[in-house]
Amino acid sequence: MLFLNPDFELPSIGATTAALRCAVREFIADERAGGGFTPRCDSWTEGLAPDFSRRLGARGWIGYHWPTQYGGRGGSAFDTLTINEELLAAGAPVGAHWIAARQSAPLLMRFGSEAQRQEFLPRIAAGTTYFAIGMSEPDVGSDLASVRSRAERVGNAWVLNGRKVWTSGAHLCHYAIVLCRTAPADPKARHAGLSQLVVDLHAKGVTIRPIRMLDGSHHFNEVVFDHVEVPDERLVGAPGDGWKQVTSELAYERSGPERFLSTMPLLERCLELVVAGPPAVGDIAAGRMLARLMTLRNMSLGVWGALGQGQSPVIEAAMVKDLGTNFERDSIEIVREAMVADARVAGDEALAQLMADALPLSPTYNLRGGTNEVLRNMIAKNLQGK
């Protein structure tokens, strides 16, 4: 376990990423000034803006560290982290391309065929092609190995039947990477017989229905596959390798800075008011949040550094996600209290608006990408050497 290892060393990225960070900040300032976006919390799930994604893609800021033949700019993993954390902290609407860039592309880079890489990665990098996650089902959540969606080999194609839920952004995505059974379930080897297919969401037999969020907003969907024909060349990796691949995909899904920066626009406004005012007892709550944020960023750098070196810091990422999403949840309550108790903060309309947008969906922080309970199970088993 990296963080508990006496030899663990934090990476330093300040010097190498400074120029890029400046450029991203300038872009964000220009976008805000020109009405390109209004900051909001949770912008990586709620901010679905294909135009914005295309503008980022045109600058090369999606998949910046991918090889150039796949649409990347051959930068470092820390360059991409820099771009992502600046966009998230600013509350920019990165939701349209987020999942494709975060996990679909790395999955295809690692396990996909050369043809798949050439077909999809440049379009993801351009910010024009979006992917959805095809993992959860009506009866399948944390226990992912029990998926019931099935694909059968018929000629040169797979015929897919099943149902996926909580599919963020499927209504504007072009593809989903669907985890399904391609061999009957074996109770003695639950993880065997699973495969991943790249499914065209506009194909015949695909039905997408919205699942409204509790505040009426729409990013969840139900996606039904009724005898959907998927060409053989859309199988990712080998048949039966789905579990190994999806585990790797989850590591990408869990390791990013969006797991502690979802409420940063809210905190930014609150802390701006606190810092602009005179010292007061409310500095204590603000300082505590700052220390947690600084530590989370440092831990996140550690995870990202290990990923960049080809390691698979699954447990470390789970730790950062548990700590980070608890921080997000707590930050809402801490700001709420400041809005009443701290005269420097009370009555600010911009803050009230950010809070009104963030609060209803804050229960999702500890659920998405694996519940905190599942993460703690993983961490404990690792500690116990199981």
Binding site: F3, P6, A90, V275, D283, I284, D322
Partner: protein, 355 residues
């Protein structure tokens, strides 16, 4: 980081494993000075650790010092290791010759600039670690503009009344109602290029490193105990309610370690105090949760004198309050943003974590 951290940490771990068992710690808590352990610690040359090589020191940096203190914290070493490191650093910064340890250290708010002008000073400082057993005290005070001043008192220049912190380590009372600064070996001078906040921050950082070490030990003890203790026919570590707390204990320990390492590697500059503030604050928060979880999972056994858990938990909780508790550093952290005229919180966070 210099190349010192790993060999230093390994040497410290070997030495503490051999010579700082829980019996040595328990004996020290009754007032016995662990001379054999100190003789062994001296081989690690703590007083010279932060002295540059061209002045006869080991040329270590704060990451090296934190590596040493994390090990000391892990083994509850009942000696002024942090204090000797800090005193050695300050003596060198003041251009004074190195002193043989053990050395004590205290960071006070005494106006030493005024004392220097008058040639006399009144001192009444409590909780001075092992002052009665030390060869000298590096007592830091401040001048009018927030600059750091050093008053070095050799053993002959003071009498300390032995006392003990709740944690069990010596925290003595130094009371000198009218001390002439002309006594033999007594020095009072400004520490050029150091602010009072820098010195307090460094002292806090080393305490945070000790806390991180104590959390590591509490995690190891708790993992072992929950793997052995059987109830309802199985080890309690098999229960999910227990496993989730183990995960949190590990997360908090990890957070404390990372916060300490980040601050240790932050160069002196506009953001170093912010990084040290975050380290002491975050380690303090971790200590609170780690002690709570470790005791909860040890049940009644963990609150007995016989079980060694309390050696770690009493210390980690007491260390939270030394050199600035969480609330103190929280306010300093916000003030650091105010002083820097930071354009925004996120930009400040990036600056203070970029090293």
């Amino acid at each position: 980081m210099s190349d010192l951290a790993r060999p230093l940490a390994e040497a410290a771990e070997r030495l503490f494993t051999q010579r700082c068992g829980t019996d040595v710690v328990a004996s020290a808590e009754t007032g016995t000075w662990p001379q054999a352990l100190w003789s062994a610690v001296e081989q690690l040359t703590p007083a010279q650790l932060l002295v540059p090589e061209d002045r006869g020191g080991a040329g270590g940096d704060w990451a090296d010092a934190c590596a040493l203190l994390e090990r000391a914290g892990e083994f509850n070493v009942p000696l002024p290791v942090a204090e000797t490191v800090l005193a050695g650093w300050l003596l060198d910064r003041a251009g004074l010759p190195a002193m043989a340890g053990p050395l004590s250290f205290a960071c006070s708010t005494i106006d030493l600039a005024a004392a220097h002008r008058h040639g006399r000073v009144a001192i009444d400082v409590r909780n001075v670690p092992w002052a009665a057993r030390s060869a000298g005290i590096a007592l830091v005070g401040r001048g009018g503009g927030g600059e750091a001043w050093l008053l070095y008192l050799p053993a002959g220049a003071y009498v300390a009344a032995p006392d003990r912190a709740p944690a069990g380590d010596a925290r003595d009372h130094v009371s000198l109602p009218d001390l002439a600064l002309t006594g033999p070996g007594v020095t009072c001078q400004r520490l050029q290029g150091l602010r009072h906040a820098d010195v307090l921050g460094r002292a806090a950082l080393l305490r945070a490193a000790q806390i991180a070490g104590a959390c590591r030990r509490a995690l190891a003890l708790t993992l072992a105990y929950t793997g052995e203790r059987v109830q309802f026919g199985r080890a309690i570590g098999q229960f999910q309610a227990v496993q989730h707390q183990l995960a949190q204990l590990a997360e908090e320990t990890a957070a404390a370690r990372v916060a300490v390492q980040a601050a240790a590697r932050t160069a002196d500059g506009p953001w170093s105090v912010a990084a040290m503030a975050a380290a002491k604050l975050r380690a303090g928060e971790a200590a609170g949760l780690c002690a709570r979880i470790a005791h909860q999972l040890h049940g009644a056994m963990g609150v007995t004198a016989e079980h060694p858990l309390h050696q770690s938990t009493r210390r980690m909780l007491a260390w939270r309050d030394e050199h600035g508790a969480e609330a103190y550093w929280a306010r300093e952290l916000v003030q650091a943003l105010r002083d820097a005229g930071a354009p925004g919180a996120w930009q400040a966070i990036v600056a203070a974590t970029s090293r």
